[in-house]
Amino acid sequence: MSDTTLEHKPGYRTYLLVYAALVILTVVTVTSASMDIGRIAIVIVLAIAGTKSVLVLLYFMHLRYERRLLVKLLVPIVVVTLAIFIGLTYTDILFR
């Protein structure tokens, strides 16, 4: 029954590995923020937050095992839409 919606069900092993990765990334982001590395810090912090989100979306929210193309595409579409909003806003802010 459940095989019809999810190709393959992740189990305890997958969930605990993802959890461990999330905890480690949290520790890394807190440590890197307390080091004095200047303006690059925001890039590192955002890259780590992005990685953590992708992990949650793919494994906890099962997007990796999703069979419906529509559901798989929804989040990327929204992210691209947001990127356009942000890009257009900044063309205004930066060159006003």
């Binding site: 029954m1 459940s2 019809t4 919606t5 069900k9 992740p10 189990g11 305890y12 969930y15 605990l16 993802v18 959890y19 999330l22 905890v23 949290t26 982001t29 807190v30 923020a33 307390s34 080091m35 004095d36 590395i37 810090a41 912090v45 955002l46 780590i48 937050a49 953590k52 989100s53 949650v56 979306l57 494994y59 906890f60 929210m61 069979r67 419906r68 529509l70 559901v71 929804l74 989040v75 579409i77 929204v78 992210v79 839409t81 947001l82 909003f85 942000i86 806003t89 900044y90 802010i93």
Partner: protein, 203 residues
């Protein structure tokens, strides 16, 4: 796609697609606020840095770990429900609720400490600070407040799930209510994953 799928699967698919559409509107809602944050931070980098020093990094880190753990227990609850162990699933949902309550308690103490220091919307002391700091705290209360409302809604939904499971409405064959609630919960986690570094970790 659905030619060999049964009727029940069709409705389950629709339920899941609907939830994802809702999640996308939520991403856009918070996305707009994040855009606002980034523009104000770009205009007032010094004020944002100074204001962020008033937040407790320890409390923020603690709450991040609490919320990540609650996401794990929520994911395990769905897993246990699907493999036909509803007792364990309810236990994991109970754990998720406890972590959610922990998160709100820590958040409550944080907000309380801010209030005591005269930092709340429209406070005389806050309004005497530089404009960038006023904007920072305005965004801080709006965004963490909106997030906290989502946490409370999530707790209500999980409570509803427990009731539905006790009544046998949600079973291994009809897990969609618990699955969608858990999807919502993970979204709350994802939003916090961005809120935490942007407000607490400005170096």
């Amino acid at each position: 796609m659905s030619d060999h799928h049964g009727e029940a699967t069709g409705s389950e698919d629709r339920g899941r697609i609907g939830m994802w559409l809702f999640i996308c509107t939520e991403i856009l809602l918070f996305g707009g606020l994040f855009l606002l944050y980034s523009v104000y931070r770009y205009k007032h980098p010094g004020d944002f840095h100074d204001a962020s020093l008033d937040l407790s990094r320890f409390a923020g880190t603690l709450n991040t770990l609490v919320l990540i753990t609650s996401s794990l227990t929520a994911a395990l609850a769905v897993h246990e429900l699907r493999v036909g162990r509803p007792g364990r699933a309810r236990l994991f949902i109970g754990a998720t609720l406890l972590f959610a309550l922990t998160f709100l308690t820590v958040k409550g103490f944080e907000w309380g400490a801010k209030f005591e220091h005269g930092l709340y919307p429209n406070a005389t002391y806050l309004l005497s600070l530089p404009p960038g700091q006023i904007l920072y705290f305005g965004l801080y209360f709006t965004m963490t407040g909106l997030h906290a409302i989502h946490v409370i809604v999530g707790m209500g939904l999980f409570g509803y799930c427990l009731r539905a499971m006790r009544r046998g409405v949600v079973t291994a064959k009809r897990p969609i209510l618990v699955e969608n609630t858990t999807l919502f919960w993970h979204l709350v986690d994802v939003i916090w994953i961005f809120l935490f570094p942007l407000f607490y970790l400005i170096s």
